[in-house]
Symmetry: D2
Amino acid sequence: MTTTEAAGLPVPEHTAAQSDHDHGVHGYHHQKDEHVKRLRRIEGQIRGLQRMVDEDVYCIDILTQVSASTKALQSFALQLLEEHLRHCVASAAVKGGDEIDAKVEEATKAIARMMRT
Amino acid sequence: MTTTEAAGLPVPEHTAAQSDHDHGVHGYHHQKDEHVKRLRRIEGQIRGLQRMVDEDVYCIDILTQVSASTKALQSFALQLLEEHLRHCVASAAVKGGDEIDAKVEEATKAIARMMRT
Amino acid sequence: MTTTEAAGLPVPEHTAAQSDHDHGVHGYHHQKDEHVKRLRRIEGQIRGLQRMVDEDVYCIDILTQVSASTKALQSFALQLLEEHLRHCVASAAVKGGDEIDAKVEEATKAIARMMRT
Amino acid sequence: MTTTEAAGLPVPEHTAAQSDHDHGVHGYHHQKDEHVKRLRRIEGQIRGLQRMVDEDVYCIDILTQVSASTKALQSFALQLLEEHLRHCVASAAVKGGDEIDAKVEEATKAIARMMRT
């Protein structure tokens, strides 16, 4: 159960739909600690970038570090997406009905946003 | 404040560009504060992502936020690159000799890394 | 039935696995004509690029056209991927067993390749 | 002299600015044959994609080929950009005045378009 549900707050439509297949936890739930660790490492990289700018490091070396951080973010996104497809999209397919179409459309739009950045 | 400015030496616009990374001032030097502010906002976005994971926010909403952070990083990289081209690459061209080839090759490799992430 | 099957040629393993859910046709089967039309337009854009180079068109204008062609290819890829998720991945989920994991891993790798170009 | 100039047609402003440094030919002029060959190979890949769709090849294999074509287009764009920086942008820097700013801004916008596809 999510914090939102526990608090008795209204649950956004997609969360409600989502919660059907796995008692309110998302695909990435079991890798939560790993995800947070990854994001902390990326946060550290961004702080490193601030130091580089502050210490007048050569532009190209900063750009190399920006590319590394962007790659780390994309890699995090891909892992999240894989878990989403494996759990949320797959369970919508098993459930049958129209939900699979909505889930696939939603996932494709997210992939499009990832590709266009 | 750069070493040059600290020493009270006059920094003519062209010489400043020319002296480049050898003497500590890069193309992005005059936008340093703005760059650091941008990077702090991105750092805040990454911390926001950690909270989202921690609070079991829906996968797709996290992916949307990852795309926004990636876009912010790319946009920062583009601004840095523009300043690098305007100052470092341009001053290599003015200086003459082989340096322009090396600078252009280096910048192109950085652009390739940015495109492939 | 695919040309390969009609010709009595051995069907590659993944096609055989795939053919389970929909009598041997892939997700994109029903949009075949539309896909071929899209690709013909892209082919025309690439020929246009050749003319631009041949006629010494300004570099930046050629780059703008390259971006348009790349975007058209990515958009084609996204549509294909959406159909793949809707049909092939979804049917693996319905079928049950281990196939869904393999299908999701395969799709994620394809998305990673699309993002890294 | 470009076809446009030979034909006595009005020359777009950027071409006129460009033509200053090298008698009307652009940075990529000397690699023209190589560029056209590259683009013909990409055209062949796009025709290959049409055949793959027509022969019901497995979706993921088509996506792999789309990624290869996109990569080839990006690689062509990077080479063109490198030549543009080396010739057009560098000569604007040597010439002095405001032109370098306009050229760098124009190049950065082209890079942004390439990154966002």
